[in-house]
Symmetry: none
Subunit: 206 residues, 4 copies
DNA sequence: GCCTAACCGAGACGGTACGTCACGTCTTTTA
DNA sequence: TAAAAGACGTGACGTACCGTCTCGGTTAGGC
């Protein structure tokens, strides 16, 4: 292997792909989405025009609109939130709060509202999005809950997957299904405090 | 209705539209969706071909693909579930259980998974779907919760809209975002019992 | 058969193709050629734009650029010339003169110079052009020569196909291979008189 | 050469162009043509692939497809035929015979049939081909005829340019316009003898 | 039992976007 | 500096749908 690598056969050959072009495409797409262009009008042709790029350059990197969207959305994803670590309750509030704030930020809002829409048209792409975006976030929540169970803040018999859905579901439902719904301050606390009540060990009840 | 028809200005004139054709279109579309045709390939042209119908005949009834989908989905919607009325808890379980069973039925499953996807591309259509399908279901839940508050099964200070989202959210999130997730028997009970814990009046705690 | 024909199954079905559109396409193409647009720039896309027509409308009638050109050239072909019939010599002069005049007319000149060029790229199309344009003209000449042989104006042992090439060749070579060459008045007479000398029966020599 | 190389200013600077590469390109193109690749499919990209050469290497030598073709065709041109010089008649027969044989040779046949086709798309290139290939051949014929006139084998009032077209035209017409036409042995003699009849001085008639 | 307006299927129409390919130019590394 | 490789912007290719528009041919009333 080290031998093969050091041979002159084909390290990279030819002109390398321009990172600037890649950025231009993704940011051009993002700009169009932010400008409120309906998803149905977001053609590859238009993206290419906006980014000042040839169609072939897009197809060289992504095999279609949906594949491109996975990367666009990934680029728009904010970094994982910092968790205080003081308690399960506080960590969950931080997680949900970051979800709420992301949805309120107009930039990602337009993306979040519409992004998964287009991708669900293609099971293959949805899988990619699921693996790259949804699962990691989900794991963050599961990790918090697992730690909570170890610490005795959550009953041992609780289905953590379901618990996670009970925390995240109410927020996501408002974001995805009812974009007009408001996401008031304090929403995260209300949800966490209510659901935690049903997960707490019986001994710790007031 | 008979009053309107008997008006003298223009009763019907000419050949009336065939109900059979209307049914053929909607059921043809449904058949295609059930057969796993990706939403992106569901063109009006293909629907017309499948239903053995002219394109104009479709456009005479619906102004586009999305409008048609609203009716297709409405046709696939099961009737509102019967609520036992014995308690808030039992009614909520019945509601969630009907949601779960609908998602498990393969026929509507394909529709549910993908329906809102296409429609969200068109705000206008999404509004129609929202008003005709989502809001009524939602109101059913709110009604149950309101009755529960009146009966004292739920604390007076609880935000019922949010409470509703907390019951429905976990189920919908699994249906819409993770079609591969399982919806095990007893899911409804688990969710309702857990969340209800946090909504119950302090006095009724064990 | 008469039964089948009289049944209502499918006389023509659907909207008939517009003859006006067909004309617009052919004349649009001709206009572009006359305007000196290089053949390489004569894209279907541009023809459609010029004719104010959708691309699909062109492809519905012709399977490609070359097929279309066959019809464009056929449309530009002048009618067969009137032959005086007084003698082989006079008929041949008339034939060659019509060829010369056609080449001088700027309209068809541009076509003639470039038309067969594009078509030869496709053997299939060239065959069509050959069958529809070249062969009929050629037959006209052969007919004249055959009549001349019957009348004794041409020796019986003459290969008429070759003879025809000897009359037509010199003119065509100037048109196709040397567009800058001049086609002076009297050219037809010179060629016919010279070649006829070699075809005449020995007895009729001066 | 050695003198030029030893000059101090800029003998050649850098890596010299490879003649092998040049040959590979021209012969690769010829191979493709011989293999019956339709002219329309003869892209620079394909030629480069076939010759195992970079596109830029081709563009460094020729400014486009047509320029390249001029050299390809020139490379395929057979040398000028040896003329017996015994009489105008014999020289012309030799000229026409060489034309006939060239067309029969499959190698150049494919080229001859299609070569001028592509080039006529570009007036500039056609001019180059005309000057480099057509004119020299043509001059050879004119030279023979001029000598014939001096010797008294051809009448003094004969238009030699036209005479040349009358000899060459019938053969070329068969090659270029009717590739399926046969070019039988004895064709050259028949044409020359027939046309010469009309060019001979009156005094020498039988 | 006609008349006639609207329906119905088929499919042509001007468009727009698709995904592919070749153009001629450019930017890499290697020789 | 040449050469192979291949990315780049451009634009045509031929296909598929869009939503609209004729066509010939039903199919129900109202007269």
């Amino acid at each position: 292997m080290s031998l093969a690598d050091s041979r002159s056969d084909s390290p990279v050959r030819g002109r390398p792909r321009s990172e600037a072009v890649e950025r231009a495409i993704i940011e051009g797409t993002m700009k169009l989405l932010e400008d409120g262009v309906p998803l149905a009008e977001l053609s590859i042709e238009r993206i290419a025009r906006t980014a000042g790029v040839g169609k072939a350059t897009i197809y060289r990197r992504w095999s279609g609109k949906e594949e491109l969207f996975v990367d666009v959305i990934r680029a728009a994803e904010p970094p994982d939130p910092d968790l205080p670590g003081t308690s399960v309750r506080d960590d969950l509030v931080a997680l949900l709060e970051s979800l709420r704030l992301r949805a309120l930020a107009s930039r990602t809002s337009a993306l979040l509202h519409n992004a998964h829409v287009q991708m669900k048209s293609s099971p293959r792409i949805w899988a990619a999005y699921h693996a790259n975006v949804i699962v990691p976030r989900r794991n963050l929540g599961l990790q918090v809950l697992r730690r909570g169970r170890e610490r005795g803040e959550i009953r041992a018999d609780v289905d953590l997957e379901l618990a996670n859905d009970m925390f995240v579901g109410p927020v996501l439902i408002r974001i995805l299904l009812r974009p007009d719904a408001d996401l008031p301050e304090g929403l995260a606390e209300q949800i966490v405090d209510t659901v935690m009540e049903g997960l707490r060990p019986v001994s710790s009840r007031p």
